[in-house]
């Protein structure tokens, strides 16, 4: 068994990749690298930062996902044509990005789902309704079979609604949040003992509103369904506020 102090010192505060991203950020903010410029070759950066090229590539890949860099094969990697301030803001956010803020997660999910269901109620096809019905059926079966929770089946129900919104961006955002949501809900045992069963009529109300293309009713039904878990988030933000005001 290692001593505690050994374990603590072993933690590295910044991953190599984030360190590189930070360096690139400085290059841009200091004006040494202007928007539209070509980055030094990966090998050069590798040597300059004293790190393997794999990490340079990984960092570039990440920044490319965020639309800040654009790589042209066999030619070079270029800085996006965005203002320095915008690039700086986004990079700072990437480095500090953290899906572990439970309250923020729940809150973001709450508003995303309300948006999704409004759109779904308006645009759903009959195929969407069928898919949602199947998900609802699976959920009720799981609960009635005596399972303690059916978080996964519940999420599947919500995924089908997201798909019915016909907005791929919103759908993707909801899907990105779901694994973390499930983890947090299960770990923290957010839902009470009989929550699974009490959710059934709520689900049915949501389905009914979507089926009838009643946008207002759909939003209301979803708000009711998400209310319990959302209260937790609200309480979290309230606590934060008090702490900040001390």
């Amino acid at each position: 068994m290692k001593s505690l102090i050994e374990t603590i010192t072993a933690i590295q505060l910044e991953s190599p990749v984030d360190k590189i991203i930070g360096q690139l950020k400085q290059l841009i903010t200091s004006g040494q690298l202007k928007p539209g410029d070509r980055l030094p070759a990966e090998r050069v950066l590798s040597e300059k930062f004293g790190v393997g090229r794999s990490y340079i590539r990984e960092a570039i890949l990440k920044l490319e996902f965020y639309g800040l860099l654009k790589t042209n094969p066999q030619s070079g990697t270029y800085v996006a044509g965005l203002s320095i301030n915008v690039i700086d803001s986004i990079i700072s956010d990437i480095i500090n990005f953290n899906k572990d803020d439970f309250n923020a997660l729940i809150e973001a999910r709450y508003y995303l789902e309300l948006t999704a269901i409004k759109l779904a109620a308006e645009r759903r096809t009959s195929e969407d309704v069928d898919a949602i019905k199947v998900a609802l059926f699976d959920y009720e079966n799981k609960i009635n079979s005596g399972a303690s929770n059916a978080v996964e089946e519940d999420m599947l129900f919500h995924i089908k609604i997201a798909k019915a919104s016909k907005n791929t961006v919103i759908e993707s955002m909801i899907l990105i949040l779901i694994p973390d949501l499930i983890k947090n809900i299960v770990d923290n045992k957010v839902c009470g003992e009989n929550r699974g069963r009490s959710a059934i009529p709520e689900h049915r109300a949501v389905l009914k509103a979507i089926e009838e293309k009643d946008v207002e009713a759909a939003e209301k039904a979803m708000a009711v369904h998400l209310n319990e878990i959302w209260e937790i988030s609200k309480a979290g933000f309230a606590t934060k506020k008090i702490i900040n005001e001390l």
Copy 2:
């Protein structure tokens, strides 16, 4: 000059990484790889899929970002404890992920910003107000200096509001969309000639509402500000609907 046919055949329909992700998806959906299981070693996958280990690592990295895999150094990579259906849905979404749907982008942005400003009006600190004022000042300067557009400065204004929402998840989502938004707005010349100038009073109304912590007024002011560009998205979805109904 290459012939046209050469250029066309050179296009690869699927990147190696997405191909690997697809294979992993099949392994999971076929039951050969169950949630919680450990993945075969990277070297094994590399050989099995007939591709370099770099690509395997890249694919794993991507799936890790989405919360579907978890890598333990020197030990192994494990499938998340999610149901097969959820994993399947998310992987499908990753492969098909596409930020290029302009209408979806605008629409998602519209709703995200309305959410962000409601929260910002409620939670903004005096520092947030100052930061927003600076951004607004920069925007007006740019416009008054005769620049044809100030899309970047406009976005910076919105970034500051997102920060004031105190929800890091929502903030991140808005930041992810911004580079694509800017690109599309500039490329398509979405904004008319004098749009930059007419936006000034709208910005001021937004700021005023945030400063006064007037949630309703803030949301309304933002809706007005985003209205023009949102109309384009609405028209886009309406067109899609007609096409689908043919």
